[in-house]
């Protein structure tokens, strides 16, 4: 699997001494990140499962909520997140090329797009607050016959987008760390594993949104 030439390997930058060489270390980190993303799939999976069950139980009620979802903001946010995925992919590419300035530029762009996404999300949440669409004692729904069912949908809406937004906030923190590390010349064409890892994380968060968008905003749009 790996040769045991420890003394040669010790010269690699950023190599922890329980690894044999930086290839093994990089592969372990990538694979570890993917396993972590597996847990994330299952974490969101619990909510997607609940969503599936209730959408199957209450199709009409769920469809009725779409008129209270802000499709324009939802679609804009989808585009914003896709843009941020592009800049993140380009950041990873720049890191692999060892291009520091480009790397910082793309990381900052990604961070800005992430903040734009969160700001738009805030506007949406604020709308829901004004419209009394927050589940709980103050919940109000214009179609009284669907009051309970719609409340469950909004509960799931806030759980899913809230968990997603939480992941975005964590991602923004990680990006900030990367920017600081990059500006301190911590990355090189040889060692840039953290950029790769956080790139994977960021793309995953994007994928979650790619599913949330049709499931929450496009249910009964026609």
């Amino acid at each position: 699997m790996a040769d045991t030439n420890v003394s040669a390997a010790e010269h690699d930058v950023g190599l922890k001494h329980h690894f044999d060489d930086s290839g093994q270390q990089y592969e372990s980190a990538t694979l570890g990140m993917w396993v972590f993303l597996l847990t994330e799939i299952m974490f969101f999976g619990g909510m997607f499962g609940s969503y599936t069950v209730y959408r199957n139980l209450y199709p009409e009620a769920f469809a009725s909520t779409s008129r209270f979802m802000n499709l324009t903001l939802g679609a804009t946010n989808t585009a914003v997140l896709i843009c941020s995925s592009l800049t993140m992919a380009l950041a990873v590419r720049s890191a692999r090329l060892g291009a520091k300035k480009k790397l910082i530029f793309f990381l900052v762009s990604t961070l800005i797009l992430g903040i734009v996404f969160l700001s738009i999300k805030y506007v949406e949440y604020h709308e829901k607050w004004v419209d009394h669409h927050i589940p709980g004692p103050g919940f109000h729904y214009d179609l009284p016959q669907y009051y309970h069912q719609a409340q469950i949908l909004f509960f799931l809406y806030f759980a899913m987008t809230g968990m997603h937004a939480l992941h975005m906030i964590v991602g923004a923190g990680l990006l900030t760390t990367l920017i600081v590390m990059a500006s301190r010349n911590r990355f090189s064409a040889q060692w840039n594993t953290p950029v790769d890892m956080i790139g994977l994380y960021w793309h995953f968060v994007d994928i979650v949104w790619i599913f949330l968008f049709p499931l929450l905003y496009l249910i009964g749009n026609h």
Partner: protein, 325 residues
Amino acid sequence: MFPVQASTGAGQVDALYIFLLVVAGIMTVGIFLCIAIFAIKYRRRDPDEIPRPIHGSIPVEITWSVIPFLVMLVMFAWGTRLYFENYTPPKDTLDVYVVGKQWMWKVQYPDGTREINELHVPVGSPVKLILASEDVIHSFYIPAFRLKHDVVPGSYQTYWFQPTEPGRYHIFCAEYCGTNHSRMTGWVDVMDPASYQNWMNANAPADSMEQRGAKLFAQYGCASCHVLQTTPSPALNNLFGHPVQLANGQTVIVDESYLRTAILNPNVHPVRGYPPNVMPVFQDQINEEQLLDLMVYLKSLSSNQSAAGVNPARPAPAGKAGAKP
């Protein structure tokens, strides 16, 4: 080792149980004997001895995977068959309505008799329980009949049994339900048919569940749509036990669970061919016991064609003619 067998099903479950005990006993004794014999026969006699290695044998592995699996298939088939039987009531049962709440069982008979933590049933006739809960999940458990089912709020659960032995048997709540869970117990009184009749007569109340249901039917103004058809609405005679096609294309048999949803949340599974969102939501308007009264009344409309005032002119969407898939 065995609790009393007091129903037709109890003996069947015990028979299956004994089959499993025998299989499990043979397996356990076999493994224990092997371990004991090997441990004695092949104990280390010389500190330096190295036994000849045996790596394994694919035929042996296949044998001891497949044979137990075939035996387990018998358990599966036998157990599944009994399960479906116990939870699928026959026609013409004596229906008893049970409402669980923290921490008591409220039992109601179609003739209107009510009791708490007691269930009186006659020997020899099939009895169907319709179980509802007012608060948390309970479980109505009668060990002498080898039967239980969770009582899930928001739905009806049913099972049936046919008592064979007169006597008093435990009722337990078997799903943890809070402080006095272990006090949520009661007794099934299995009586011979004559004493059962006497008991019924002695306790007969002023009005039956059907009568109480009819009053509720009037009180909530159900008749204006469902009978007088001021708005086109599904007719209610010959509905119970028949298939009905829903707006989403599904066909369901109208049972207690369906009627429950149709009354409490009529817009969740509307019937095909009727305008949606007309009937008000009765969730929070009506309690479990009233709902059961109403249910018995609605059921009576299906068993008794002459039930007052139901308009037979407009066929229900799923009458005999509508029973298409």
